[in-house]
Amino acid sequence: MDEFILIFRHEDGGKVASPEQIQVWMKQTMDWIGGITAKNKFVSGTGLPFADARVVRHNKMVTNGPFGEIKETIGGFIMVKADSVDEAVEFAKGCPVLQGEGNTVEVRKIAKNDGVH
């Protein structure tokens, strides 16, 4: 069993939604993660709010960000256990983030630090 990280990328993180829509998304996320947890394959995860976001640059320059300069923003991630990358991809397909056109979920294997990976 390997661990994978599923990274949510939003094409436009600043879109304003109605409170009702936000609540629907939240419910969908809970159901999605609930489904993975039910299979005992959920490791951890979190959302990444934009409040207090900073970008530290070369020469230790700190800017507020990442706004305006990149098209995509990272909205959050979860880590799952999966027998193969294909299983992890199946989990990713259910992610509510994908309902937004242009949004993506990137699936990456976590290095085991066992000298092989």
Binding site: A17, Q21, I22, Q23, M26, I33, G34, T46, P49, A51
Partner: protein, 421 residues
């Protein structure tokens, strides 16, 4: 995770509370800031709760986050004013630990005051309804656009202009002085009435949304009833009227969203609880001397909750319409009065009076005459229904008329039914 049922419409309900409190604290000129902080609170909640599950007390969690965001905003503003504006203006500004009061009492006060602010006579009624949906009911732009059968841009523009107007007029968020309450209350309840009608008669396909609109109108009206200074007879009459109408919610629409006319409704689906609540508020409405249009409309709506077709019923309804038309003339009320008239004096008299109205651009005018001709002359009935069909734009209305024409053509006899459903 996810075992707990998410409280329905929690965000929408809390949105209106948080916006009202923040707006009152910041002032009406900062209305967009108040809206942004509230929206941001729910985005944070959705990310955090979606991943980690519901907190033990969701509402308290939302208030804490909203409060922190508001304090951050005020601190940033303070830094700007004291470090940048101050040297320019040479004015001393003290920063106090800002109190953002999200207690039940202040939430209630803020919402009531916000109602009077939004329904200020200087704002157009159309904009008042839009702003109420956004600020007082927490509806999104898409939902408002859907309810009005228009697009986002139109609604955005309308709301933008309304906010500008609020700023220009420097309308304070406060209760009107006692001497002005009655007068100002008029435009508040007119907006609630329009809000309800928007839901009840909306042509939107989304029936859940339509019902939500009506329930929100009833909630706002109930807030006025709960408050001593605004608990006036006309407010009770309006609430009664809405209860009576809302009692038919489940009966007036078929499984496929088609309109079911009053006479064809399954009366076992009428909500008896709402009917008795309506009767209770109608009783409360009789405490004063004045009879408003809401009183008369509520009384008519009461008779419509009585399924039995007695002469007493129609005589009463006719008299109520006579009185209503003296105060407020509207084509629909005039047509409904004629229906009651024909129930009391016969369809021939009804047709005669109806034709005098000559409302030849109104589809309901033709469908009423078609209706009245139905027991007398099939051909004339069909002819009028076809004229109505040409003028109707809504699909659901067309289906109803089409059904009538088909039945008439097949020689089916059926009782006439009023224009309500």
């Amino acid at each position: 995770m996810g075992q707990q049922e998410i409280i329905p419409h929690l965000f929408r309900t809390e949105y209106s509370k948080i916006v009202s409190v923040l707006c009152k604290r910041f002032g009406i000129d900062q209305i967009e800031m108040a809206e942004d902080i509230s929206s941001d609170t729910f985005l944070t909640a959705a990310q955090s709760w979606g991943m980690n599950g519901l907190p033990a007390n969701p509402t308290a969690w939302l208030y804490r986050v909203a409060k922190n965001k508001a304090i951050n905003h005020l601190q940033r503003k303070h830094v700007f004013e004291s470090k940048i504006s101050l040297p320019l203006k040479k004015e001393a500004i003290e920063f106090q630990e800002e109190e953002i009061d999200l207690s039940p009492g202040n939430i209630n006060d803020s919402q009531l005051q916000m109602m009077f602010t939004i329904c200020h006579p200087s704002i157009s009624p159309e904009a008042q309804v839009g702003l109420s949906l956004r600020i007082l009911c927490g509806f999104g732009i898409d939902e408002i656009a859907d309810a009005f059968l228009t697009n986002r841009e139109t609604i955005n523009k309308r709301l933008f202009r309304a906010r500008e107007k609020l700023r220009e007029e420097k309308i304070k968020i406060e209760m009107p002085p006692p001497a002005h309450i009655e007068k100002r209350l008029e435009s508040v309840i007119t907006t609630i009435y329009l809000l309800f009608n928007e839901g009840y008669y909306s042509l939107s396909q989304d029936s859940t949304l339509r019902k939500d609109l009506c329930l929100e109108a009833m909630r706002l009206c109930y807030m006025l009833v709960e408050n001593k200074s605004t608990n006036k007879p006309a407010v009770n009459a309006l609430l009664s009227l809405m209860c009576f109408h809302a009692s038919r919610f489940d009966a007036r629409e078929g499984k496929n969203g088609e309109t079911i006319l009053y006479d064809e409704q399954d009366t076992s689906l009428w909500d008896t609880d709402l009917i008795s609540k309506g009767a209770y508020f109608l009783h409360c409405a009789t405490s004063g001397k004045d009879i408003s249009t809401y009183h008369l409309e509520a009384a008519i709506a009461y008779w419509n909750t009585q399924k039995t077709d007695s002469p007493e019923k129609w005589e009463n309804v006719l008299e109520l319409y006579d009185r209503l038309l003296k105060i407020k003339n509207s084509p629909i009320a005039a047509l409904n009065r004629i229906f009651a008239l024909s129930k009391v004096k016969g369809p021939e008299i009804g047709i005669k009076v109806a034709e005098k109205l000559n409302l030849t651009d109104n589809p309901f005018y033709f469908s009423l005459i078609g209706e009245l001709y139905t027991p007398i002359d099939n051909n004339k009935a069909v002819e009028h229904f076809q004229k109505a069909l040409k003028l109707l734009s809504a699909e659901s209305g067309k289906q109803v008329i089409q059904r009538k024409i088909e039945k008439l053509s097949s020689g089916h006899q059926f009782p006439t039914s009023p224009l309500i459903n």
